[in-house]
Every structure is written in C-alpha cells, then in structure tokens.
Amino acid sequence: MVERLIGRSGRKGSSDADLAREPEAPADPTAAVWAKVQLARNLRRPRTLELLALIADDFVELHGDRFFGDDPAIVAGLARIDDRRVVVVGQQKGAETDENIRRNFGMPHPEGYRKAMRVMELGERLGLPIVTFVDVPGAHPGAESEERGIAEAIARSIALMTRLQTPIVTVITGEGGSGGALAIAVGDVVLALENAVYSVISPEGCASILWRTPDQAPAAALAMRMTATDQLQLGVVDEVIPEPRGGAHTDHPATAATIKTAVVRHLAALERRPLDELIEARYRRYRALGAFTTVDLEPVAIPERPGFADRLRNLLGGSARASNGTGSNPTRSHDEPPAREEV
C-alpha cells in the first residue's frame, strides 16, 4: 500500500504542486491535519449537484423515498456521463445559509437513505452502474431521525450495497462522516479527493469522548488518521484524486474533470468483470479490512484478590485447570463478579 502511495506521488508531476502548497501547509502535523479538515468542510467545495452539472451530459433528479418524504440532504437520479448511463446518489450540503437550512446542513434523515436505496435498486434492475458522491458531517442525530429508524436505514443501505449486482464507484468528495457517509459509500472502488477526510466519528465527537473536551478536536483528527492519504494507506480508500492548487473550491471545473476521468476509468474496468465475480470481490474487499492477530495463549488471567476459599480451591483444582489448555473455558468465568455498572 505504501508503494501505491509512492507510486502515486511519483506519477503525478508532484514537485511543483508540493511547492505551491508548501507555504500554506503548517509544519505542525496537528495543524496540517486540521487545515485539511477545514478544507474538506469548506463551504465553497463543489457538492454532488455542482459536480454533476460539470460531469454529466444529462441529469434527471428523482425525489422521495415512497414511504415518508423527500430528503433534500441526499440527491439521487439518472445521469449520462460520456455516453454511459449511470445512477447517481450523493449528499448535498448548501453553499448559502438559506440553502443549508433547507438541506439540513447536509445531514440526511432516514428517508434520504431510503430514497438512495430505491434509486440504487432501480439501477440494479436496469443494469446501470452506480456512482456515489460522499460529503456529509454525519446522519442527522435528532429525535425525528431516530423515530423513523436512522440506524435501520443506514444498516439496510449498507447491506443493499454489498450485494447490488452492478458496479459501484464511490467518491469521497469532502467529509466522510461515519455511518452517515458509509451508508452510500460501499463500493467496488472507493476514491477520495486529496483534501477529503473519512472518519468513524467527527473529530469533535471523538475529542469530547476520549479527551473529555471538544477543544482537542485537532488532536483527535490527527490520531484518527482521517486524511485521504492515510485512508489510502489503511486500504479503506483505493485511490486519491488530486485537487487543484489551494483546494477543490478554488476551481470547480478542474476538480470535476479529474473526478470524471477517474470515475470513467474505473467504471470501464469494472464493467468488464463478470457480475458474480464482482460481487464476490466486493465482499472480499470489505471482509479483508481490519487489523487483528491470533494468539494461542492461555485466556487472559484476571488478577483478583482471592479469598481463602478461592485460594484453597485454586490449590486443589489448579492442576486440572492448567491442563485445560486452549481458549474455551467459559465455565471458569461464570462465578466471577461481573464488572461493575457504570452509572
């Protein structure tokens, strides 16, 4: 993966791009990451509709989830990109305050994800590939959202995308905010713009839980390694799409053009693969993500202050337990006190 990274930066004429960015990129890694987070959140960053206007020759937006209503924080529809018909789903923040309020600051409710599922299923039935654009602070965390089952909608959408019988290309264009992003970000190929970020929780949320104060958000952002290049190294993202100097918001047409080139290239490659192979490869892609090891040791010993009776029991039964060997001995744990309630 590191080679991939080096290969990328070597391939692109990166020297002058780096020079251009040098003066604005702070030397302190925390500040550098935080600057990226701010770039990813820039209000002028192109969103799904802006990008589609530049990328697609035709776009017809479809509205409504057929259950409850239409969620303006997610746009979905049919588009034509270079003579290729595709289904597009993406999140949409507003650039102005009015639009932002109307679009709920890009935080989707369950009906947004249900609309996305409906349109993606349509794409599957018609044999159209799916392109998604991800830019969301997170799913809406309010009461109405919970009442209508935001978790169920996200889970259902992830489940659907793992088995859709059509190629899926996902582009993280701005903020990849946790489950709200992931619900439309399961793909055969996951791309990310250079200044996009992707994280399991917002840096503010992470800081307020682990550091007990949201002020430590930059430190949390650094610790979570949420930048596009970090995600590439972790294997969560497959390719990083370079942005114009100064960030995507400075030049929408150039950003759209590079995104288009990358998306079309990947779609063309994915369309050549047989569908069952594609689905299996998608399953394997996510199946392989994770970092763990297998240890063949005794179960973790619990340091407890044994009472006299326990010590006596250990003394008598100790040899029998030691010969028990491998990991499965639930019987031992049954009589120990459970961890105390956190209240």
Binding site: P141, A151, S202, R225, Q231, I302
Partner: protein
Amino acid sequence: MPIKLPSFRQRRDAYPPDLWTQCPSCQEMLFNKQLEKVLRVCSNCGHHFRLSAPARLNLLLDPDSFEECDAGLQSLDPLGFVDLKAYPDRVSAAQATTGLRDAAVWGFGSIGGRQVAMCVMDFSFMGGSMGSVVGEKVARSAEAALARRIPLVIVSASGGARMQEGTLSLMQLVKTVAATERLRLAGVPLISVMSDPTTGGVFASFAALGDVNLAEPNALIGFAGARVSAGTIQGELPEGFQRSEFLFNHGFVDRIVHRSNLRDELVKLVALLAPVQLPAPSSDNGNIPAFRPLSFLSALAERVIPESDEAVRG
C-alpha cells in the same frame, strides 16, 4: 467544649462495592450474590444490569453446550492511536479486568436442543466497542451459521464502533452486514437481541437487521450517542428517547423481553425459525467449511426457481 474533628472514617452508608451494588433506577442497595442469582435484575424495580458475556452465554444456552471459536483473536493497533492513554494499554487494561480478549465471544451451542451459532458482546470491555476483532467474530459467526444452515443469535451490548481503530472500525459495519445479508438471502434466520446499550455503529449494522429483533426492557438503543446529539442538535431530547419501549413503539423492535423470559423466548423462536434444510449436504465434521460462492449461488438459485419450491419448503 469539644472540637468536632472531621471524620476520616467511611460513612456508614458507603457499602463495600465488592459486596453491594446500588440500583441506578431505584437506589436500592442490592447484595451482589443475591443479584447474581436473579440474573442481575433488580428485585425491587426490575432494572436490568449489564451482563458479562460468559454470564449471558450461561443464561441463554443449554448447559455445557457452548464451544467457543476464535478465542485467540486479538486486536492490533493499526493507527498507533494515543489519546490520554495508548490504545494497546487500554486493551490490556480491559483484558485484565474482564478476562476477555476483546468485546465479543462467539461459538456454537444449543438452545432447547437446537444448534445455533451465537455471538455475545460484553460492555465491560471498552464499552463493548466494535473494532476489527468484534467485526471479524460477527462475520465469522454469520459465515459459520450459513455454512451449517443454523440460526445465528447475536446479543449486542455496545457503545458503537471503536474510535481507536478509526475507519477500520467503520469498515466492520460493512463486513458484518455483508455476512448477515448473505444469511438473509439464503434463508437462515438472524435473531438480534439488544441489551443495554446498543448504540452507534453496532445498532446501525447487524443489530438493527435481525429477522427478529428482541430487546431487554429499558435498554438504551439508538444511533447517535447523547454526547454527539447534544453537540450537534440544539434543544432537549424527549423523555424515554432511545429506550427499548421507544423503539418498540416506532416499530423497530419485535418484542421486549424480560431477562427471566429471554431463554424461553429464544427456545421458541429458534424452533419456529429453524431454516429449511436444503438438499445440499453440509460437511458437519466439526471444522467450519469455508464460504463457497458457487454453492451459495446455486443454493440461491434453487430457492428462486419455482419448480424446486415445493422441494425446498417440504
């Protein structure tokens, strides 16, 4: 006149915590040994205390039927994550206090004499958070349930995805759901039992997607944690918000089951939901066969093609 010295002795109502637990709901002091006997449910008000994974297995499965799988899985530190404490230190501290390697335990067992695959989470291990190990165990339990065509029971107790593993934790949502989705397509039932708490990435993945969703009374179940909501959304959240009853009222939980009835309920459900055995023989010699896409697809096809329908149902 005697001077009143400050007392350094413990107040008389400070019960030794090793022996007594105060019920957070009704403030009753409960004797721990007695609490264990009544399945850690407050005998005064019915508050359900959290249950450790071994105690949960003991409660739900037939006696001595559990064989644990993948007990040796242990998480790495992919990000080199340090907050106020380094991630590996947090893991080893949690291992020392719980005796578990990570926040989930899975294996085979039987409920009312019927084979099931069961995955149980333990909140006392880093808030039951789902990192790579928990995700892997859930996915393996689902794949094993599919290979043997036996129901999968998952008991959740988790604050959500584990922040210390970053987006790799987030990817566990996809990993687990992809596996349970294959169960669903193959007609093998998933029973999701939600205990206090089931929130965040765990609720927004396999826990919400059970064919039958059970919940313990008054368990905290929701997507956004209180601290996240409070930081993002202005205004108070309604009373009883994100509790089992709230979810039941909004149609996301099938049944709210008191802990003392949970096993009986599962015995009934496992019997009623038992998957129809397809003609394809499953190798049942103890080791779990790997997932085979071809046999899986042909099994699917058999269910889809109408003429073989009777054979399947019968």
